[in-house]
């Protein structure tokens, strides 16, 4: 298969047939999946006392909550995400084109930020309940926000954009002739949606649901705010509170099992169905112009969703931030600047190393082109489906044992005691980010490599360009956008990442996300506001960038 050729070495094209799988990609993949393998294999040799203890204390509640959370967020994001996608794709109403992309923006608000904002507003001491008490005295009927339903509601608001985006793409990819055929057979627009559009878009919706569920599964901060402990929360609690790595590993194994189950559900939902659109000639579905009360109802619903999922949290955060800036105590600015510097450094380092690794991996896979190589690529990118806590625990186990061995070795040789070198250093943390966000960088870089077809390289050669000229003038410019896009996405993901950062950071190394979490956990809302605003702003930039790029296609 001389299908697509390496970005880095044009001379390889002329080598005899397929390249051997280079050792480096193999090594990288092994390193990336090592943490997950360590955690999962711990399930094979369980420590029964640990399980016994867990079962008698935290485990039943955590399991129950995890399942309820997945079911609730799954249903919520499906209804909201697919429903809104249906609204904007199949109908036209005032403001529809603006809402079409406003609906995506809540994705920039991490669940824990959405969580603490809602907590503060609807909690007993929050403005809503205070207002009600002022008006009507003691209010008993107000639902308890610190509950499973509260967590599900908040996560649905933060995570529905995943389902929305993929469902929208799924609906838009359908060809109009399919609908016209159904209409011609006497189906109304409602039943066309239920019987044609929804089933056809099922693979896309399933993919979106999985992304949302993965986020819900990985979250530990929001469920802690809402007093609804899940497995992720349990891992952090066991590690942070009890420093019990053994129990944390066992729980992480269980959490990884949940992640695999979610992937399995997606595969089942997709089934064997691969929906090919004969379209191309007739792409795009027919949309109906809404009239009368319907059109204002559509606009009203859209306004409400955007207000609740975006307007309210942003307004509240900005309100707090302004207040915070007005009465900032001396030295606070330095603290914030320090947080920003730490976050930027971490995100920058992570983006750099992830993209470099992805480039080596993707070009190695493409150079080889075989089934094994593609499997390697697939394997290295599974980190995105694995909750951060699992990866963090896996790295803790791996790196600590490596550190101990290295320490022993040095002690024997030179008689020096080094302590633990890697554990709790930036190295372990970056390792975690690379393993977790490899998929993001890999897909972007690979999309860049895809542009370099063999014919492009050969054309350049036939025009008398040497290897360097080809690399410099053709290959690098072609993959540069993919590299930058991948780096930007990893950067933003790391800015808001919490579980890996919390578990692997050097002692006392605070980032924006860690600060938000700690402040919010202490109900110091306004103290969390400024870092939260920065995280949200950083998240909005690539969303605008990506939706523009998608629109151009």
């Amino acid at each position: 298969m001389r299908k697509i050729i390496s970005a880095l070495n044009p001379a390889k094209i002329f080598g005899p047939g397929r390249q051997n799988l280079p050792a480096l990609p193999l090594f990288i993949t092994a390193l990336i999946i090592l943490p997950v393998v360590v955690v999962v294999s711990s399930l094979l040799s369980p420590t029964w006392e640990v399980w016994q203890h867990l079962w008698n204390t935290l485990l039943p509640e955590m399991l129950r909550n995890t399942i309820i959370l997945l079911a609730g967020v799954g249903l919520g994001t499906f209804l909201l995400g697919a429903g809104l996608a249906w609204l904007v794709v199949f109908y036209r109403f005032p403001g529809q084109s603006i809402f079409e992309w406003l609906f995506v923006l809540p994705m920039a608000v991490p669940t824990y930020i959405m969580g603490f904002v809602y907590m503060s507003i609807f909690d007993f001491a929050g403005p809503i309940q205070s207002f009600l008490r002022q008006q009507f005295g003691v209010v008993h009927w107000f639902p308890e926000i610190r509950s499973g339903s509260g967590a599900i509601l908040v996560m649905t608001l933060a995570l529905y954009p995943y389902v929305y985006m993929l469902a929208k793409a799924g609906f838009q990819g359908l060809s109009s002739t399919t609908f016209e055929a159904a209409r011609a057979m006497g189906y109304g627009s409602g039943s066309v949606f239920i019987r044609i559009a929804l089933p056809l878009a099922r693979p896309a919706i399933a993919a979106g649901l999985v992304l949302a569920l993965m986020e819900a599964l990985a979250d530990f901060a929001t469920v802690r705010f809402f007093n609804f402990p899940t497995l992720s929360e349990g891992i952090i609690r066991v590690w942070y509170g009890l420093m019990d790595l053994r129990a944390a590993t066992e729980l992480a194994g269980l959490l990884a099992f949940f992640a695999f189950a979610v992937i399995l559900i997606e595969l089942t939902l997709r089934g064997r169905s691969r929906y090919y659109q004969t379209g191309g000639k007739a792409p795009g579905v027919p949309s109906v112009e809404l009239t009368g009360w319907q059109k204002w109802a559509a606009t009203g619903i859209s306004l409400f969703v955007v207000g609740v999922a975006l307007g309210l949290p942003i307004f509240q955060l900005v309100y707090w931030s302004v207040g915070e800036i007005k009465r900032m105590p001396a030295g606070a600015a330095e603290v914030y600047l320090g947080l920003i510097a730490n976050s930027l450094l971490l995100a920058g380092l992570a983006a750099f190393f992830t993209v470099i690794t992805a480039l080596i991996l993707a070009s190695g896979v493409r150079m080889n082109g075989g089934t094994t190589a593609r499997m390697l690529g697939r394997l290295a990118t599974t980190g995105y489906a694995i909750p951060g806590a699992v990866i963090a625990v896996g790295i803790l186990v791996t790196v600590t044992s490596f550190d101990h061995k290295l320490g022993d070795l040095l002690a024997e040789w030179r008689g020096i005691s080094t302590g633990l070198i890697l554990t709790g250093s930036l190295v372990g943390l970056i390792y975690g980010y690379v393993a977790r966000f490899m998929a993001v960088a890999y897909n972007s870089v690979d999309a860049g490599l895809e542009k370099i077809t063999p014919n492009i390289t050969m054309s350049a050669r036939m025009l008398r360009a040497g290897s360097w000229r080809i690399l410099w003038r053709i290959h690098l410019p072609l993959i540069a956008p993919g590299i930058f896009a991948g780096a930007a996405l990893v950067f933003v993901d790391v800015m808001k990442e919490l579980p890996i950062t919390v578990m692997l950071r050097p002692f006392g190394y605070d980032t924006l996300a860690v600060w938000v979490w700690q402040m919010a956990a202490e109900s110091m809302w306004s103290g969390a506001a400024i870092p939260a605003v920065i995280i949200v702003l950083a998240g909005i930039v690539p969303i605008i960038f990506l939706t523009r790029a998608a629109a151009r296609k």
Partner: protein, 358 residues
């Protein structure tokens, strides 16, 4: 025009060239030579080895055995290997392979190394004028139509004044009208430049209308080489006869310079060894004529309207099927009785037991 591209003698010679991919013989013992300034086509069905042959000439593949020479220089042989970029050969791919991040101007200038800025500008502008794209210099490939992309690809490969230019099915991604226009245009440009051209195509009409000579390939072997008329009228094998156009085969026996075949006897070039042998006679539909005749020796069973002409399917009184191509000025309905006459001049004799022409 002749000043733009090289004047030095350029010919392409392949001698006993073979290229295997594992067990697959992509090209097998191929020998032919192409004359300076010639427009030559390699014609064959997909998988016949024509693209591999092109890539062997370009230097994108290395032969397992045999010699490739360009001009007076051996570029690939047992101990010789000249890298593709040193062969002075230009290529246009089926997908054009334009550099998507460069403008039309930059694409064309890419191959012009070692010239001053002013010279590059002059050459690019000149070549843009030649292909008729003068206003599009600053466009990017994604802003061009398919036909424009094809012209840019041609211009890009012509810019460094290659001695030989290779075209790998460059018209197959275009609409029918545009394809016709660009074929003529491309031939005119290349002929005016005096560039030796090798075109790879599976479309016999394309090969015939453009080429000075055509080489027909099948399963990695050269079946026949000759002018379009030779290949069409005097095919050297049943494969060529079938591939380059519609052909009917009429069974008969050779007798004293005449093929006796049911209703007709055809005079053919007499060969001693053929005497008494059973043969098949290849007859092209354009050599078959008929007139309406109630007492005729054939019936029209089908008439397919092709625009300028009509393809008739005739059943002869002895049951044989034969086709006839006639202008559509006169349309004769199926079922009519006709009297068939065959022009024997282009009939080709194939012996029964081999595929080769006798």
């Amino acid at each position: 025009m002749s000043g733009l591209l090289g004047k030095e003698s350029a010919r392409v010679v392949l001698a006993n060239v073979s290229r295997f991919f594992g067990k697959v013989k992509a090209v097998c013992d191929l020998s032919f030579s192409i004359i300076d300034g010639e427009f030559f086509s390699l014609l064959g069905p997909s998988g016949c080895g024509k693209t591999t042959t092109l890539r062997l000439i370009a230097g994108l593949e290395r032969p397992d055995s045999g010699v490739v020479a360009i001009g007076q220089e051996v570029v690939a042989g047992e101990k010789v290997w000249v890298a593709p970029e040193k062969r002075g050969v230009g290529i246009v791919f089926q997908d054009y392979a334009l550099f998507p991040h460069m403008t039309v101007y930059q694409n064309i200038a890419f191959g012009l190394k070692g010239f001053s800025r002013k010279e590059i500008r002059q050459r690019v502008m000149h070549i843009l004028a030649v292909v008729g794209l003068i206003g599009l210099a600053n466009r990017y490939p994604h802003e061009l139509s398919g036909g424009q992309c094809q012209r840019v690809a041609l211009a890009r490969s012509l810019a460094p004044s290659p001695k030989v230019i290779l075209l790998d099915e460059p018209f197959s991604n275009l609409d029918a009208d545009l394809r016709e226009e660009l074929r003529t245009e491309t031939r005119r440009i290349l002929k005016e430049n005096g560039t030796t051209t090798i075109l790879v195509t599976h479309d016999q009409e394309e090969a015939f209308s453009l080429s000075d000579r055509v080489g027909v390939l099948s399963q990695g072997r050269l079946e026949q080489i000759g002018t379009p008329a030779e290949v069409y009228h005097r095919p050297s094998s049943r494969f060529v006869a079938d591939f380059v156009g519609k052909a009917d085969f009429v069974a008969g026996v050779v007798d004293e310079g005449v093929v006796l075949s049911g209703i007709w006897n055809f005079p053919v070039n007499y060969e001693e060894k053929m005497a008494g042998r059973e043969v098949d006679l290849m007859i092209r539909p354009d050599d078959v004529d008929f007139v309406l005749d109630p007492d005729g020796n054939a019936t029209i069973t089908e008439a397919r309207f092709l625009g300028a002409s009509i393809m008739y399917k005739l059943q002869l009184s002895d049951g044989m099927i034969i086709h006839s191509l006639k202008p559509s000025t006169e349309a004769i309905p199926p079922g009519a009785k006709v009297k068939v006459s065959i022009n024997p001049e282009h009939a080709v004799v194939f012996s029964k037991d081999t595929d080769r022409a006798g």
